[in-house]
């Protein structure tokens, strides 16, 4: 694999194709949005569609005031602090006792050669301690993740791509997923969130991808429930009539790695509320 990538990168260079590093990608990404929305401050992208929709912004502030994710957060805190049957807690599984670490996820684990997300490690922690894993899209895992995000509010996303060809390959695979048209309706993520933010799909205004991952998990009025980022991926795949891929499977984890890297340096503001 390592050799293959080296060969491919070499071939790309020889062919004179511009090889873009993740950092080149991120800068081009930001520039793209700043050109499209010259009046929107970079810091405001963490507010999703409300950063570019003044009419909905006021309404949203009212929803945030009411903090519909509060119940889940309280539940998450309790779950987080309650010891497992063996007496250990989540705090034993995470750096800094699991407090204020959201900004470092997802990361590339050089030991397993995989992208690790926060939700994946919550379940790994459970299994390591003899507990059953949770479902990945909603329920207790969203609650715990919401609490952990809350303890990290204000910290800046710090996604690292280590000097390991497997990490770069994971990033590239997420990038390929993001830009590939899928489903019977033939849309890529980028078709909606890069090339058409601010436009309407029926009554929905499309949000920019920049800042997408900062506020997850999210309380979504349409779900009347909390959901993880992979629940959202699932929904966005279905609406173009693609069969969703497994939450926390390799595809979605790599996708999260790419998407979150694009928002590097932005503040964690989860859990969030959205229409």
């Amino acid at each position: 694999m390592k050799m293959l990538i080296t060969i491919l990168l070499g071939a790309a260079l020889v062919a004179g194709l511009a090889w873009a590093s993740p950092e080149d990608d991120r800068k081009a990404f930001i520039e793209h949005y700043q050109k499209r929305f010259p009046k929107v401050a970079l810091d405001d992208y963490v507010n999703g569609v409300y950063a570019i929709d003044e009419a909905a912004y006021e309404q949203w502030l009212e929803i945030e005031e009411f903090a519909p994710y509060e119940l889940a957060m309280a539940e998450g805190k309790e779950l987080f602090e309650t010891p497992f049957a063996n007496g250990k807690t989540y705090a034993d599984c995470f750096p800094n006792g699991g407090i204020g670490i959201r900004q470092d996820y997802p990361y590339f684990d050089t030991e397993s050669g995989q992208v690790k997300t926060l939700e994946l490690e919550i379940n790994e922690c459970r299994e390591k301690n003899g507990e059953k894993p949770y479902g990945y899209k909603k329920g207790p895992i969203a609650a715990i993740s919401a609490y952990m995000a809350f303890t990290s509010r204000g910290n800046k996303l710090n996604i690292v791509i280590p000097d390991d060809p497997r990490a770069l390959a994971a990033y590239e695979s997420g990038k390929e997923f993001y830009y590939s048209k899928r489903g019977q309706l033939n849309f890529s993520c980028a078709d909606c969130h890069v090339y058409n933010p601010g436009m309407m799909v029926r009554a929905d205004k499309l949000s920019p991808a920049l800042g997408h991952p900062t506020h997850f998990p999210v309380y979504r009025s349409k779900w009347d429930d909390m959901g993880t980022l992979h629940r959202r991926f699932d929904g966005c795949n279905k609406q173009v009539r693609a069969k969703p891929l497994p939450a926390q499977g390799e595809d979605y984890r790599n996708l999260e790695y790419f998407v979150t890297y694009m928002s590097n340096g932005m503040e964690v503001n989860g859990p969030g509320a959205r229409k």
Binding site: Q184, N186, F187, R202, A203
Partner: protein
């Protein structure tokens, strides 16, 4: 005198008979076209079928999106109806980056349905 009246009468009868043959024919053709446009409209507006309004403004359609251009003055923009149909069938053939679903290639609509939608869009 007598002959002339007869001739006129005869001609009138013939004409009437002709007209009677022609008129219903012309009538059905117009009706068929109108019905194709109506059926095309139903398919175009159906969220499970064309769902054109998700992305395009179309006169008389509610809650349109605006990812694609408004569908107006179509017969001027596409004097050749076949080109319009090809665009609906698979717009990525002309532009691989197009965000419009390839209704034919991806079997979102049947050939007949695409014909009907083309009739409807053409008169917008």
């Amino acid at each position: 005198m007598m002959k002339k009246t007869r001739l006129v009468a005869l001609m009138t009868t013939v004409l009437c008979a002709f007209g009677a043959m022609l008129l219903p024919a012309a009538g059905t053709m117009a009706e068929e076209a109108a019905s194709a446009i109506e059926q095309g409209k139903a398919i175009a507006f159906d969220r499970k079928k064309g769902n054109c309004l998700a992305c395009h403004m179309i006169a008389t359609g509610d809650l349109p999106g605006n990812i694609g251009p408004p569908l107006v003055a179509m017969s001027m923009r596409y004097p050749d109806k076949a080109k319009l149909r090809a665009q609906i069938w698979d717009s990525t053939a002309a532009n691989p980056m197009s965000t419009m679903p390839p209704f034919g290639t991806h079997r979102i609509l049947s050939e007949d349905e695409i014909d009907l939608v083309t009739e409807f869009i053409y008169v917008q």
